[in-house]
Amino acid sequence: MHKNIWKFWSLFCVTGAVIFILIPQIWIAFSSLLRTSGNFTLELNNDKINIIDADLEGFRVINDNQNKIYLLNDYDQELVLTLIEPGLTKIETNIKNFININRIGVNKLNFNFKNLKLRIEQLPPSFIFGDSDQAAEKKLKIIPVDDYYQMYHLNKTYITVVDSYKHLSFKNFFTVFKKSKYLSAITNSLIVTVVSSIIATIFAVPLAWFIARYNFKFRKGIIILVTMASVSPPFLGAYAWRLMLGSSGFITNFFGFDFSIMGMHGVIWVIIWLIYPLIFLTSLDSFMGMDPTLTESAHSLGASRVKAFLNIEIPLAMPGIITGLYLAGITAFSDFGTPMIITLNLEMLPKLIYQEFMNEIGGETHIASAGSMVMIFISGIFLAGQRLFLASKSFSSITTSKRKLDKPNTKIKLFIYIFSFLILSISFLPHIVVIITSFFEWSSGVVTNNLTLVNYKDLINTELVSIWVSLSTATGATILSFVFGTTIAYILIRKNYKIINFILNTLVMIPLIIPGTVFAIGLILVFNDEPIVLTGTWLILTLSYFLRRLPFAVKTSEATLYQMHPALEEAALSLGSKPLRVFVFITIPIMISGAITGMTLVFLRSITELSSTILLFRPPWKTMSIVIFERTIAPGTNFGIAASMAVLMMLITYLPLYLLSRGRNFEVA
């Protein structure tokens, strides 16, 4: 029974992952393969009928005489339209299995066959200038007569015909790669991801190394501050940078620069500061958990400091660095808030997919699904690369002695101080800007020069509930992440379930690469109907946060576990301890450092999450980030309340973080 407890648990996790992670994505995949046969638009001008070339999809015009149009689609369905007299068109077709004609409005109807569902709509004379009575005059009508159909319509109008019958097809993917905006979106996203990840690593890893190795006065403070820097309430980091460095930003105006942060360089800049804490924290854990004896042996054998650093310490810390790099890269790849604010028209993949879904003019859901599949594919390649790299090496050590911290000499101490100060001051610039602007009066979307507390007063009067919603959902998600994060990491690394592990690993990583909005839509569509209705509840928000952050929790637990040799557990087992006991009393305490990093990030990220929350919430479950978002997007809005809510959010997230860091010992195991 005890031997099977892990097997049982892993099966349980796999089932949960399949239901909550896999099935929604399968829906998206299926949706990406659905395609309608096409659409066309006719222009009717009394005694002339024309097909509009620009708005023709799927159907081909075989023959176009003065008043007769032959149309054929990919599925051999043929339509012949003949204008008999102004207001009357004859429709002939080879399609069998006519079902019915279903009126859905004065100017709209559905013309249904078994394999073709046409929605036909005529454009009435303008509602603004025409008489509303005139619109009702000539209703759109289709009447079956013998072996053809008669369509009655306005004399001068446009008639759009759209097929909504879905066929299975791969053509959506061709569209994704053919349309230039998708190609440039993919390219831009990749460039931003790679460049920002590399640059962030260049300063995050050395900083982590210095902090792991040396002891000095503000050491703990720096670690806490970097963790805090990764919490930027959504959109606000980007908006704050734009306030500072946009065309009419504070700094740009003050110095008279002819420069704007808008553009790809701006996106890269903002994202660097968003992701470097991830790389820092995971590298820090790796450096701190490294066995010092290896380095000491190298030194005693005559290796120079630098040589030891490059040949021993960096390779040993690889799990942490690579993990951090992967997490940072994926965050950069999937972020859409930053490009929305920092560019006018730069195409980026998550933003494009989000907009295709959200298109108010009848979104290209199936194309967006295909685009989502492409994103998943690219991210899958990143994941495979990471796994391959780490699996081919062995990183663990037998002892658990942590390194002792050195006292740095003055030169090094100064260097560390300046380096950290530079990094931290840039990280916190947006936060400071937001805090300052929260004390100024806003009017019609621009900040005035009047100092005031009205933003805070309004906040307390109207949006207090959202604070409780944010806290409770984030806490619930964090607890779930801890339980499942540590246990799944343990299964993946210690247990040899070939098939289960493979499935589990892939499934658990999936949420990381799905843009939050796509993830939310998947959840809504699966859980909006019987048998399980979760939409609009507290639970679906918590679930979404937990599932989306589970990969973080698992990866950070894994990084720590990689460095712990199984011999420790085997020793305990051979002394008679049951597997569960071994896990709780030996494995978990050793994993705690990595697990806590993971949990902290889960909590912080859940509080500030926006992209899936936007779709999943319903009153009264409105979160703090939604309040901030509502107050930021509308052009004429009062941004002041968003700023004050953001300040409150910073306070609320920094407090538990501070308590946590106080209890946590950063020096010795």
Binding site: A54, L123, S248, N345, E360, I361, V446, V469
Partner: protein, 324 residues
């Protein structure tokens, strides 16, 4: 161990407080949920006005981008959470008409345009004049007509911002109106020299912040910004000006249709429309109300409505952009 204990206490207290709040909220029946594309500066005065004549009904507003608003109603079609959507152009309501219930509001008879299917109800009508950034453009360079925008000087001054009709109802109105008024040849040339923005808000803010020299704006927003002293100026072109009607609708299958209908009636009534005119500064849809002060009379402007249907404008625009 203490850390875990602390977490537990946090969670417990949250759950307790949460249950209290949710019970308290559920006790509030008579609630109408409104999804809106308008900001708080528009719906807060409306909510206040409605509350004073209908004290027993609570309104909850959720603010969303126009596109998201309709997509969300579509995704929720099996179990809608919203009673009413407020904001969005007529064309969008036509596009999503399946999601709305037909309701013949008595107030609609007083409007100068109404939906024969009674699914959308016009709230206000507003024009999209040109807007320049006064820091980037001197008064001597102000355009008199849309035709003037073809002058190459605009690229040096900072560029012309135009919202993508594929993503914005406002963008569609502008392109469609310009095409029907000034022809597709001109409009094609114009589109080729614009900076296309992924929505109307980036277009407005782009000009305001100086990221572009000129663009179009909804006149009520432009008027507010001018009054605030922002570096913008609206210009009603002498050759073509477009107009939009924004509307509201009753969601089919919503939770509280009876109270929602009262809200719909209120929005069309003189009181509700008065809010539109006085506070929001938009022209009323009612035949018996004066336009807001400061805006030119619609009758004096060369107005051009949308000519071709949405799908045609989208397709033509995309073709032009891709051939740039």
């Amino acid at each position: 161990m203490r850390k875990i204990f602390n977490y537990f206490i946090l969670l417990l207290s949250n759950i307790l407080i949460l249950s209290f709040i949710s019970i308290w909220n559920i006790a509030n029946a008579g609630n109408v949920v409104v999804y809106t594309a308008s900001g708080p500066e528009i719906f807060e005065p409306i909510a206040k006005g409605f509350k004073s004549s209908n004290p027993g009904i609570d309104l909850s507003f959720i603010v969303l981008d126009t596109g998201e608003m309709f997509q969300r109603v579509k995704a929720e079609a099996g179990n809608p959470a919203a009673d009413v959507t407020f904001g969005g152009s007529i064309a969008s309501y036509e596009n999503y008409s399946d999601l709305y219930a037909s309701y013949d509001s008595p107030e609609d008879a007083n409007k100068f345009s109404k939906d024969p299917d009674n699914k959308w109800h016009g709230f206000s009508i507003f024009a999209q004049p040109l807007m320049v950034n006064t820091n980037k453009v001197n008064e001597s360079d102000y355009p008199a007509t849309v035709n003037d925008l073809l002058d190459s000087k605009w690229q040096e001054l900072g560029g012309i911002a135009l919202a993508d009709p594929n993503k914005s109802g406002t963008g569609h109105t502008i392109v469609s109106g310009l095409a029907s008024g000034l022809g597709w040849d001109f409009t094609t040339d114009l589109i080729k020299v614009t900076i296309v923005t992924p929505g109307s808000t980036p277009m407005f803010e782009g000009v305001r912040d100086g990221e572009a020299a000129i663009g179009w704006v909804n006149e009520d927003l432009g008027a507010k910004w001018e009054a605030e002293g922002l570096p913008v100026k609206m210009i009603y072109a002498l050759d073509a000006v477009t107009v939009q009607i924004d509307a509201y609708g009753l969601v089919s299958g919503g939770p509280n249709p009876d109270d929602a209908k009262k809200f719909i009636d209120y929005l069309g009534s003189k009181d509700g429309q008065k809010v539109a005119v006085d506070i929001v500064k938009r022209r009323s849809m009612r035949k018996d109300m004066e336009p807001p002060s400061g805006l030119p009379l619609l009758g004096d402007l060369p107005l051009f409505p949308e000519g071709e249907p949405r799908s045609v404008i989208k397709a033509k625009f995309t073709k032009i952009i891709e051939s740039k």
